[in-house]
Symmetry: C3
Subunit: 398 residues, 3 copies
């Protein structure tokens, strides 16, 4: 074992994450050491993978995902993260299950959990719904565990809800750490989380909410910028304010992209829908009001179109620190002249940072594996140490 | 190894199940020792899982499922059961395969079996079809094995057909054993398998058929009760009569729910469609007679509605032994005022037994794994003993 | 280790396949030793599987498939081949991913590859498209690997494109070797790759193209026969001519089934669409010209119907060497009076060779595993030797 690895394992062992036998739902619910623990475990898992060390900590066991919205990278990150630890993944297809026959959430939760270690859920379409659904699953699993219906309690991992997207924001934080050298190096750095124009409407709020609520915890100066009316949900904004005050960073809201970009070290320009529109959309979808939904979409797109100037282009980038801020995106981005006529980012800016956004995404499988380790094992550091000591390799060597 | 485990393994080793290199299709086709063997292997697998012992008996190999009807718990039980033994599961999606291009059953069976250890099939929609299809697959695998097309012959496991639902009935029997203490303790206990009202029509007959044909083998007094016209298929009823005579139990048919519930130790109230309706439905579906199908459904629902009194409610439960019979259900149940206006069971009765029904379902993954062990290994007891002796754990320990 | 196995491993070690860290797309792109290497590795994998030796060379890792057309045997061969080496398989469902949201091919390729060892792709519907798409994925993976976005570069394996179907043709070659005794024994044998009548239109060209371009490399006398107008793409035909000249075999094109069958040692009668029709179909599908597509289909079927005489029946078989040529087919075949009124092969001929066609298909999982071994390991022979030496078994032994 290298000295560096040894010292990372020592640091991890020293952290009291409080995550054992719990879920990972909203980052702001968890103490600082939980965030640090997941981040460090992800980093160690990356080191071990690069060194060819097998981190198969489960001989058998399931990782089940429930996707109530489309997904490529989070879906594969979940599959890869589970596989990295030895779990077989399955995806619950609600259309082919008996859920349509009237199963309750708590019943389904128990039925898929008898030999399951983690349940990953994406439910981000309806504001006010996704997080609620995850807590219902979580409550059912607590009951199942307490009442000895289940041999073990699977952890629920939020793969994006209406409030937060923690596997994304932690992969993003991991990316910042790898670019700036350490968590400590982020102190005093300015991050611009800004709205950007997109020719589509109805994009979830969870990414900007997750970013401001997480990055404020480490002394960054976080500026949130969006056109009037594109407000986010208050809970994560309140968390951001609280965290900024505690960490010595800051959290401000601006109404111009330029203000956020000026002297920024990191920019994260991304479209989202106004919370008001998302609430209304949820109501109309539930009521099946097709005609009114079409009206809402038309209105929302027309409103978006008033803010085509919110594009991350070369002149906007020149405002950033030295004109060379790091650019981040959760992908896929709406790239002007590539995937749409006018979008969130110009082709030349995106192309310059394209591989960086891939690397950013590349942390996600490890972050998810780290969340599983932290929630399913009492001593994640000890488990990782055992992986190194037993000497098993990811692939046979000739 | 504990003494108790040692003695269970000895008992298992002493049983001549006759299942090696065979399938598991209809419980009444197999000798008593086969049933006892699967039941005991399931119990040992549960013990080992609880003790953290890895039962990964396959390093590689596939478990393939074919679901021709919706499923949650059986689907996940199959996946979990396979995973518990080390098999990777795949589900044959007939809509994306070349079966639509005119492949024969025997050809498909061979094509998915080259490195496969078990094929689980649910085909319960059409009376007269499901079991027939499974035997066609089974015949094709026999040919493939005899003619050395296949390296090994996968076992076919019936995940519910038109005649039987053996993974359910054996999980139910396992549940009864765990509640009453032993198979022997079931002798003389009264079990009421009764029809119950549901606002849907067309539920399969395989659960009541499977229950009466299995529980009569162990000296239970089994009463089947249903309204006039809701007859089951004769084959399992004949088996039930035969088994009751041989085991010293009894099998009677009643025409009132109350008669079945009176002094019952166990009640299993569940809706099903009359065999006559299912036969007619199969004929109409095959002929594509949409209008007549709608007529049939209307007529069947109207007929169901005449029997709304067949509800398992508090006054019905008071008739059972001490008013405290065990309540069983294969789930999901139609619960009055929860999943429907009027259903199989009242909310207060169901809620009192809800967690018990989850525990009942929780045996299914182990029953399926036990079926795989019994059909794929000549000496399942020896294999389980090796799992204990080699000392591998389900999850790494720090 | 047996002497025979030892000697096969020595032969494999001596071959310079040049496949390490590469893809497997079109057989004619790779040198003779690459073909021999995959063939021999597949044979050794079959030997080891039959001997019960575990060839789990990966502890963790993903094998991802993308099927843009229906598939049963190739899909399961891929799943089985991956599983045989320890990879967990996942299938990218483009309809549930964000590809619909405007992801580029290169972005998707990176996103699914962070911990992936192989990506299998079927894209055979549109002439001029499938191979192009695979090279785009391949290029993206090269960039990802060079730019250190990816920890490892997954190999792309062609599971059928518009030009070639290498997992099929190599399984076919493996079948010929096992029937005739050795690669050398194929020298001078006559193989008839002929068009045959089918009541469907639009079958891909990749099988006949793949067969003629591969079998000519080993000194066989390959005759391609088809009615006027049913031309194949020129690239593989040119390769066939080149290979025939180099190997001392021959490649000729005939215009009557009888000419091809006369004195043939092997016949491969199979329907395909004229390249011209496929090009036109691609154009119309892209343009969404539904009415013209129906016209094209009508015209193509009418044209097919002029050649109902192209059926592999008993009188046709009597023309072959001793009336006993080997019959091959990639399955499913259009069998006259079985899957259609008039098809590629008569029922009596097909039934006589049916099990042989299953055995032919049975080589495919091993061929795919061999491709993965050859592309992902620098020394496949050393890796297989290690599998034998470590003594792990495919299944536990009691």
């Amino acid at each position: 074992m290298t000295n560096q690895l040894h010292s990372k394992l020592e640091s991890l062992a020293a952290l009291e994450t409080g995550l054992w036998d719990k879920d990972f739902l909203l980052t702001w619910q968890y103490r600082q050491e939980a965030i640090r623990g997941v981040l460090l475990a992800a980093e160690i898992l990356e080191d071990l993978a690069a060194a060819g060390v097998s981190t198969r900590v489960f001989e058998t066991g399931l990782g089940i995902s429930i996707f109530r919205d489309k997904s490529t990278r989070t879906r594969y990150a979940f599959r890869s993260g589970c596989n990295l630890l030895g779990l077989m993944t399955e995806e619950l297809d609600e259309s082919t299950s008996q859920i349509a026959h009237g199963e309750t959430v708590r019943e389904t939760a128990a039925m898929i959990s008898f030999l399951t270690e983690v349940i990953g859920i994406r439910d981000d379409m309806f504001l006010g719904e996704g997080h609620k659904y995850m807590t219902q699953v979580s409550d059912a699993l607590c009951e199942g565990s307490l009442q000895r219906v289940l041999l073990q309690r699977p952890a629920v991992v939020n793969l994006q809800c209406d409030l937060d997207h923690p596997t994304q924001s932690l992969a993003d934080l991991r990316h910042l750490v790898s670019m700036f050298g350490s968590l400590e190096a982020l102190r005093g750095k300015k991050l611009a989380m800004t709205w950007a124009y997109s020719p589509s409407y109805g994009k979830p709020l969870s990414v900007p909410q997750g970013i401001v609520a997480l990055m404020t915890r480490f002394g960054m100066d976080v500026v949130l910028a969006h056109p009037e009316g594109y407000d986010l949900v208050t809970e994560p904004l309140d968390a951001a304010r609280r965290f900024a005050a505690a960490s010595g960073g800051s959290f401000t809201v601006a109404s111009a992209m330029e203000d956020a970009f000026r002297d920024a070290d990191v920019v994260y320009p991304k479209s989202w829908a106004p919370a008001r529109v998302m609430h209304e959309r949820t109501r109309l979808l539930r009521a099946g009001e097709t005609a009114q939904l079409a009206d809402l979409e038309r209105e929302a797109l027309a409103n978006n179109a008033r803010f085509k100037g919110w594009e991350c282009n070369e002149s906007m980038m020149r405002l950033t620190r030295g004109g060379r801020a790091e650019y981040m995106h959760c992908l896929p981005a709406d790239v002007t002249d590539v995937s749409c006529k006018a979008g969130e980012v110009s082709a030349s800016v995106f192309e310059r940072y394209r591989l960086q956004t891939y690397r950013e995404a590349g942390h996600k499988p490890y972050v998810i594996a780290a969340m599983i380790l932290a929630t399913r094992f009492k001593e994640p550091a000890g488990v990782l140490r055992r992986c190194v000591e037993r000497g098993a390799r990811r692939r046979i060597e000739s």
